[in-house]
Amino acid sequence: MRREKPQTIADYAPLLFPATMLIVFFVLPFGTMIAVSFFKRMQGGFYTPDFVFENYARFLSMFFAGVLGFSLMLAIVVAICCVVLALPFTYLLTRMTRRAQIAWLVALLSVLSLSEVIIGFAWSTLFSRTAGITNLFVTLGIMQHAKALTPSFGAVLMGMVYQAFPYTVLVLYPALVRLDPTLTEAARTLGASPLRAFFTVVVPSLRSTIIATLIMVFIFALGSYLLPQLLGRPQHWTLSVLITDQAIYQSNMPFAAAMAVFLVLVTLALVASTVLLGRKGEAA
């Protein structure tokens, strides 16, 4: 099919609907947020239009910068864990029979239908001392006494990986299905064991897919604010938790907005540098 460039203004008409939706539901609210982030806060939860930097100045204090660092680190670790686990899993999944694949995909989709709250409480029960999995270990003789595994960083990580894993599989699945299975067979005939074939052929030829998936899971994990509260200690709280706290409980809209804007900017910078790095690697 040949595509012609739009000639007249009327040719752009099909863009009108998506453009309107984007402006009304994304650009305007985001613009408002940027504006609010420069407003001055009044006593009693109100704010007046102004142009001050005190919200950003307050954010740059060590405490909030530390939280930002932790949030980014957590999201990166979650993204790496998810991709490391999901890549071999999805690869093996695509080599199963059609029926087995459908069964697995339905199971994964049903995990997606669970709300974050249910996932959080389910894991906090599983990690508890009284009813948790450690009781199982005690019965099996692996552990001496049942103990609580939550709140802890491991519990937060586990919950978030669990939540993001189905997304990761669903994003990787189409690319892996399309991967020519004779590529691995060729690698094996040329002397690579199945494991080496996976690392020398499957992983490198999926390079851009893997980078895209890392970014997606990273952003997904960055927005999580319930699981860190349910499964972690206050030092495991992410910036999203603090934003929610400031916006809803402290009624400090301008400061919440400033944090949100900062989070968006840092995220964009990270994503852009990852994409650039990926492109550079491809050219080399």
């Binding site: 060729a186 690698a187 094996r188 040329l190 030829s205």
Partner: protein
């Protein structure tokens, strides 16, 4: 014994037997073509030799060693797949060096070998190109070079030339055969193209329904087909039933002279190549028929003759142009040396 031997190998997928009781020996340094229609089991047989599928029963031996259950990557093979399966993330040179890299050979050795192989397949100077920038014929050559980079014990090719256009395919057939003879490497090619098999092979193995129907040199397959399937599959042929009783031979209800069946046979099928069908004036002892169509292709002339409702095709060169036209009554003389008697 040096070479490959396949002993009573059967492969079953569920209830379906893809390969049945195949026996085959490939002496070291020979070129074998597995030839047959699609679904005849030839690719499955090749995949078992490569170790990509395991036989349900039977054994495969290479140089006297049982390799039936040896994993693919320990067999020292070179395989060219139908899809070529070049690694898209590697350059031409990296693709060819892949088997050496896996075997942890030194960088200098890899580079030297890549240069050797590239000049062997006439692609000198292409080492740094991405494979996506190559034409079909060039990819083909890269796949061959990659398969040969470790000097494998067995060189296996699955329909290697099917993606190329007719002219390039013919040229590559000759080139592949010359390369194989120069390297003296044991080679097995799967193909459904009988011209390709005739061009390249020392031994043609004709398969159908998972079984080997005949394994012999190309000319023997052509001149002495083992059964009507082989006769029909290899080249063009006329298959006609023949009956013999009391020293007389009849074809399609007409008595013929000059043709005798072996003493113990009363019924058989004759295979007569079109170039062996000699048209004469109608006479006693020759099959009587009517010319229904003439196809003059320049290089050859095909004459279609109707004999009692059956069509027999004769092919002649322009030098021996038969002096007939559509509607003429003609005779077809048959002699023992022109026909192959196929047992029913």
């Amino acid at each position: 014994m040096s070479g490959l031997s396949i002993k009573d190998v059967t492969k079953q997928f569920g209830d379906f037997k893809a390969v049945r009781n195949v026996e085959l020996t490939v002496p070291h340094g020979t070129f074998v073509c597995l030839l047959g229609p699609s679904g005849c089991g030839k690719t499955t047989l090749l995949r078992m030799i490569a170790g990509l599928d395991l036989p349900t029963s039977g054994a495969i031996e290479l140089d006297g060693k049982d390799i039936t259950n040896t994993p693919t990557h320990q067999r020292d093979l070179g395989v060219v797949f139908q899809s070529l399966a070049l690694f898209p993330h590697l350059t031409v040179g990296e693709n060819i060096a892949y088997p050496l890299r896996i075997r942890r050979r030194s960088k200098e050795e890899q580079k030297k070998r890549v240069d050797e192989l590239l000049s062997m397949v006439h692609l000198r100077g292409y080492a740094d190109r991405p494979v996506s920038k190559l034409s079909g014929g060039q990819r083909q050559r890269v796949a061959i070079a990659r398969a040969l980079s470790i000097s494998p014990k067995l060189f296996l090719l699955d329909e290697p030339l099917s993606a190329l256009d007719a002219k390039l395919r013919e040229a590559m057939q000759v080139e592949l055969r010359q390369l194989q003879q120069r390297l003296g490497i044991t080679t097995i090619v799967v193909t459904h193209d009988q011209r390709e098999a005739m061009t390249m092979a020392d031994t043609v193995v004709v398969m159908n329904g998972g079984e080997i129907r005949q394994a012999a040199s190309p000319i023997e397959i052509y001149r002495q087909p083992a059964d009507s399937f082989v006769a029909d599959f290899i080249g063009q042929t006329n298959l006609i039933e023949v009956e013999a009783s009391g020293g007389k031979t009849t074809i399609l209800g007409q008595p013929v002279a000059g043709l005798k069946l072996p003493a113990n046979l009363t019924k058989a099928t004759l295979s007569i190549r079109p170039e062996d069908v000699h048209l004469t004036a109608p006479r006693d002892g020759a099959l009587a028929g009517t010319v229904t169509f003439l196809r003059d292709l320049g290089g050859t002339i095909e004459t279609f003759v109707d004999v009692a409702g059956r069509q027999i095709v004769a092919v002649s060169t322009p030098r021996e142009r038969p002096n007939v036209s559509v509607g003429d009554k003609v005779g077809i003389s048959l002699t023992d040396k022109d026909c192959v008697v196929l047992k029913k």
